[in-house]
Symmetry: C2
Subunit: 458 residues, 2 copies
């Protein structure tokens, strides 16, 4: 071999980026039924690329929802086996009018690649594939360790399919650790491993009043209004100080250790900067007795995402809607239990339902909160690889987000996960103008190459 | 002439109904900009029909919004002049999936004509035109009294155009009284004149938090949520007993006289029947210290119509929306003032706006509450005509709805209005499966014929 994997990756940067753009062109929005065919196209794209670079047993695995893509290469006896996870599905792009370039026409601006899914998670998932390609090319079609690749298409809608597959066929995925690149760096240039995630329960409350929509003049004053009922209930779920009022909701919560809290205090976090540049509101909210990082990483939340129903067109319609729905999610922290949290929530909502209204409280999906132990060789190899590429020591952080699969890896495969992410705090996940810093795409590929070579050499 | 106007009307019932169906085919939804052309077509339909039956000076009058249709016949010196008012625009038909037959394909079932606008107000407006046609035919091209016709296309969106025209050109509309058929009968077969209307203010509150949509995992706990803010504010506007909590909101309210309240007690109103058949909810709501009719006719309301913004698709999207809107209307009763009521509401909403949120409180449109005096010859002639057709004494009721034009007639033309409606309580105004009882369409035409002949003979 006259070329190293790193050299190969560096020489092929332009092609790697072009391929990523092709993948980002596909609007694989998993939550919208009308994009089912696009989701399948994205799965085929990924499978065909895994085949091309030399992975074996490449297959798409049908689920009740969108397919999994699987591949492996298991010819490194005595070496660890890594399970590379990612997802090829994306969030809906709305509100469309706020995008500066169309969400599914990847566009480079100022060293960033703008597109829905650029960082979450097509770009980060593609880092693994391009690192594997570079290693294969440099090592004569071989890898320095054993690798399984498992890529799902339902991460943004709860990941039912992959969870069921893990539960039913853990033996097919036997590995020593998982690698997940679906998180972010704490600050530009600061290598970061994520060692904690919030869990979540995503719910809907449907409130029903009259049998059909009513004229608000003819019936207003005596007919129940499902929207007002939802507002009255929702206002009783959280107080003005961000405290969640569901009885027993905080039961089982374990606060971070004082050592972990002390580490967080050393992170380069500027609350005013965060407010001005990331949030852009007139003030932060929430439990002011906790630091912002604690609120984001170690405290549960209750958020409203939208309230379908009624009249939402331009102008005026004087209707008392028969039904109204609210989409509410709660983020959970260790050791809160999703099912118990949902049960408490449902019971409380039902108990405060106003006169004239019936409610249906539904669990859409759930995921456990996670804290990862940092005393294992995979975390150590990861910090070493990050040091080589970024020239700095790694910080351990948590994320306020939820990656339910990490809990499933722990539960069904009994393996730890290395959450090595290359996103940036201003990458606009789930929002208009999502982007991926192109330099981090390249650094990510090089880091994974170093990481795998180091684990293979051990 | 060998045929009376009543005979003409009876012999032409089938044709009159077919013509009404043609008009109902036109989706003249005034609030939706994409239906602008349909609204114009409906105006042309009405104008052309007025021309055909022999009315004079027929014209469409441009406004800032949708056109007015005007016509007159003023060759009965010494006789009173009636201003016939109606509207040719309709409410949006959504939710479409709840219609048993398409809203703009008029369908007869069980003696009713189902279509959006069947009763509100195309069918009732058409009663006037067909009464005028019958009178013209029976009286050799003459009418027994002077008539002006003024039909608008913006009633469902606040009636700005007609209000401006009345304000600017009251001399062009000089009349002795107005006839409005846009209300309902208290019960099937019970002739009813409406002598009171609630006013209204239709508003929007827009709440803004972050500069763009945020990931609820990454930012939940510290970022403001405009939907939660709206819920917290809305829950403070009305208590669980239906009492509106805006300071000073009830100032100026004048309760009905004890005589009027006594009359209401004699009306055939069955609360359980009302709940089961008209509302179809598990219970009525509102201020239980007032009777249901008082709550509907003589107490103000505050209702939510819809909450646009955020994620309302199927499934899950974990977004904290940057903006959320709520559409709120308040019905007002005499002598509450729309502008003063809006000012109090806006001030209160702004005063309870949660941390991190900015609000914009907007007035979309407004109308005065109305009470009509019943000691005038037009009300007397109307009760006589109703007695002939229905064979029963007329009841005087109020309506919980708002017909702002009635206040404008009083203010700018100094004339009383006869609100003689032929709808039924279960006609599904503003709701799916709106209908008009076909027998009432026919009886309405005959009543207006008697009414005009009586006034012409006086």
């Amino acid at each position: 071999m006259s070329i190293s994997a790193i050299q190969f990756a560096q020489q092929n940067r332009a092609r790697f980026l072009d391929e990523l753009k092709d993948l980002l062109h596909i609007p694989s929005i998993s939550t919208l039924p009308e994009h089912g065919e696009d989701v399948r196209r994205a799965a085929e794209f990924v499978a065909s690329e895994l085949r091309r670079i030399g992975m074996e047993n490449v297959q798409t695995i049908a689920t009740a929802g969108h397919p999994l893509v699987y591949a492996d290469w298991l010819h490194a006896p005595g070496k660890p086996t890594c399970l590379c996870y990612g997802h090829y599905d994306v969030q809906p792009p709305d509100p469309l009018e706020e995008w500066l370039s169309p969400p599914f026409e990847p566009t480079e601006r100022d060293g960033n690649l703008y597109a829905r899914g650029a960082v979450d998670d097509k770009g980060q998932m593609y880092i693994h594939i391009k690192a594997l390609e570079s290693l294969m090319q440099a090592h004569g079609g071989r890898l320095p360790l054993n690798v399984r690749v498992l890529i799902e298409g339902e991460e943004e809608v709860g990941g039912e399919g992959i969870a069921a597959y893990l539960r039913q066929h853990p033996e097919r995925l036997q590995s020593d650790f998982a690698l997940v690149s679906d998180t972010e760096m704490f600050a530009p240039g600061l290598p970061t491993l994520c060692v904690g995630l919030r869990g979540m329960i995503y719910t809907e409350i449907e409130a029903r009043g009259a049998k059909s929509d009513l004229h608000s003049g003819m019936y207003g004053g005596a007919a129940p209004n499902p929207f007002m009922a939802l507002c009255q209930m929702l206002a009783q779920l959280k107080d003005a100080h961000g405290r969640i009022l569901i009885p027993g909701f905080y039961d089982g919560l374990v606060a971070p250790s004082s050592a972990e809290l002390a580490t967080w205090k050393t992170l380069p976090f500027d609350e005013q900067q965060f407010l001005a540049h990331e949030i852009g509101a007139i003030a932060l909210t929430g439990e002011s007795e906790y630091s912002v990082l604690e609120r984001l990483w170690a405290r549960p939340t209750l958020e409203i995402h939208g309230m379908p129903g009624g009249f939402i067109g331009a102008g005026a319609k004087t209707v008392i809607p028969a039904r109204a729905v609210v989409k509410v999610s709660m983020r959970l922290v260790p050791e809160m239990q999703p099912q118990a949290s949902f049960d408490r929530y449902k019971k409380f909502v039902e108990s405060i339902c106003p006169v004239g209204i019936t409610v249906d409280v539904r669990l859409i999906h759930a995921g456990d909160p996670i804290v990862i132990r940092v005393d294992n060789p995979y975390i150590e190899a990861a910090t070493n690889a990050l040091r080589v590429v970024f020239g700095r020591e790694t910080v351990f952080v948590r994320s306020g987000g939820s990656i339910p699969i990490v809990g499933d890896f722990e539960r069904y495969l009994k393996i730890p996960t290395v959450m090595m992410g290359f996103g940036l705090p201003d990458d606009n996940l789930h929002a208009p103008n999502e982007k991926f810093h192109i330099a981090n795409f390249n650094r990510g590929i090089e880091t994974v190459i170093h990481f795998f070579e180091r684990l293979g050499a051990a």
